[in-house]
Symmetry: C2
Subunit: 307 residues, 2 copies
């Protein structure tokens, strides 16, 4: 297992995606290289008040630590407290146009070191490693075409690795991006996986690269179709209200966010996922039959978009 | 231990506070009585787009359940999984005027039932109970007079019960309302206590009543002084930015919020604490020496306001 190859891939991925997003927006991202005192480094690429993106970030990070925090070992309690190394790229984009959906993509490699202090090594102890990743779409005004295109591209990204992956990762996505306290999905889903360690490192790494490389093909055509759609105050208001759900999910449930905050990550980079302008209001419901209501009835529902 | 007396007190407290806030605002709160399918009930009193309050809520709830969630037993792991009853009043007020601080007050009584399924009763097994509560102030533009008045009233609320309470509860407040990922307090503090079970039920109940009864004397003079202060877009913008910290605290750290969400509480009532309009922006810092910078340098610091 050579983690430097993964690192090179993630560094290049960030550059490629940012370059393309800059071409779309017409404005440059700000680039901040940072070091983490407790170990590790990263580069945050951020855009705010762009022509297309009201706020967005594409972060690379590669950090290590003495003790895996609970958010990273929920499904592997035997690894709690081990030293670790984690690297990856995470992005969230909040377009200004309410007809253009928010998108999230993340790919990462986790390595838990084999020995905790005082533990006796098995004869051929290997580090534990796993990949995680995925992408998901959060529209404010839903479009069937967009949902089909996004899910189709997710399926394409995975099909060379086995036909079972897409349904499995789509289900994981629906289960993960769900606000239990609202009984509501965050968006229309996509794919999500974590703890992927099967078929060998090369298989998992290749799958992860394919997911990441399909991000732009999945999102760019949707953005191009929607970014110049006419809108007014009503749509901006609904967008700001719905963005509240994004904040609720990321701060209450999201493992990556909690892992970052618990492991003394760089808060400003982690919280790049939060939208620029958000409204909360009490017990608000859309007018039945309105375009806003259709988001709830036609899009924020469990659905097989490729059926 | 008679919990009906506590219940009567909390119900009346909510009514008294809402009546006074309505007199201040000039607009009525909306009142929503609700029942929780899994057991319990409450009344949410909410104001939005009032003359003084941009958003605020005063909630009474009295709920019971089969199994205490983890957020309620962090410091009492032996009670995890027990049946419970919890009642109290919780309020958060977000004035529109950026010179008027946001305030939070909460008082509650927790009762953990003595027996989990299959557990053998001790001969004189009693339910475990504890009170919790406090109030704290979150200014956007700080005023020394306000901070002194608020802390002085908190001290007055506690002094009849023992001189050690105020310093102890002030320290707890500073420790609790702290954003670790920002290394920054939420506001200027006040008092906070949890797990209070000492000197008998009557002592703890009387102390809790005194805290709650000092809420209006602590906050109202400050609000009266600041609610008509002239302000512009700059101050509104800073207020919206700082309100992001309030969201981050409540969704990432606040035990009451997490308890409510984990126990299938009424999300709209619990999330009344979230501000109406919030902005996030990347790596923003106030101009050194500006009024905004003075919030950080002069108010968001550990400080004995009564020295």
């Amino acid at each position: 297992m050579d983690t430097s190859e993964a690192r090179d891939y993630f560094v290049d991925l960030q550059q490629r995606i940012v370059a393309r997003l800059e071409a779309i927006d017409g404005r440059a991202f700000r680039r901040d290289a940072w070091e983490r005192p407790a170990g590790g480094e990263g580069v945050s690429c951020v855009i705010e008040q762009g022509n297309v993106f009201e706020r967005g970030g594409v972060n690379f990070s590669h950090v290590n630590g003495d003790s895996l925090p609970p958010s990273a070992t929920a499904t592997r309690p035997q690894l709690a407290g081990r030293g670790f190394e984690v690297m990856g790229v995470s992005l969230v984009l909040h377009p200004r146009n309410p007809y253009a959906p928010t998108v999230h993509m993340n790919v990462r490699l986790f390595v838990a070191l084999p020995l905790a202090a005082g533990e006796v090594a098995a004869p051929h102890a290997q580090p534990n490693w796993w990949f995680g990743g995925g992408m998901d779409l959060t529209p404010y005004y839903g479009f069937e075409d967009d949902a089909i295109h996004f899910h189709r591209t997710c399926r394409t990204a995975l099909e060379a690795f086995g036909t079972e992956y897409h349904p499995r990762f789509k289900r994981s996505c629906d289960a993960y991006f769900f606000l239990r306290h609202r009984n509501e999905p965050r968006g229309i889903g996509g794919i999500f996986y974590d703890d992927l360690n099967e078929g060998g490192f090369e298989h998992c790494f290749a799958l992860t690269r394919s997911v990441a490389d399909h991000f732009l093909p999945a999102y760019e055509p949707i953005l191009e179709r929607r970014k110049d759609h006419a809108y007014g105050e009503r749509e901006r208001d609904f967008q700001a209200y719905r963005r509240g759900r994004y904040v609720e999910f990321n701060l209450v449930y999201d493992r990556g966010t909690l892992f970052g905050l618990q492991s003394n990550g760089r808060a400003e980079a982690i919280l790049m996922s939060l939208p620029p302008l958000v409204k909360w209001r009490y017990d608000w419901r859309p007018e039945p039959g309105s375009p806003e209501a259709r988001l709830y009835t036609d899009f924020l529902v469990a659905k097989d978009w490729l059926a």
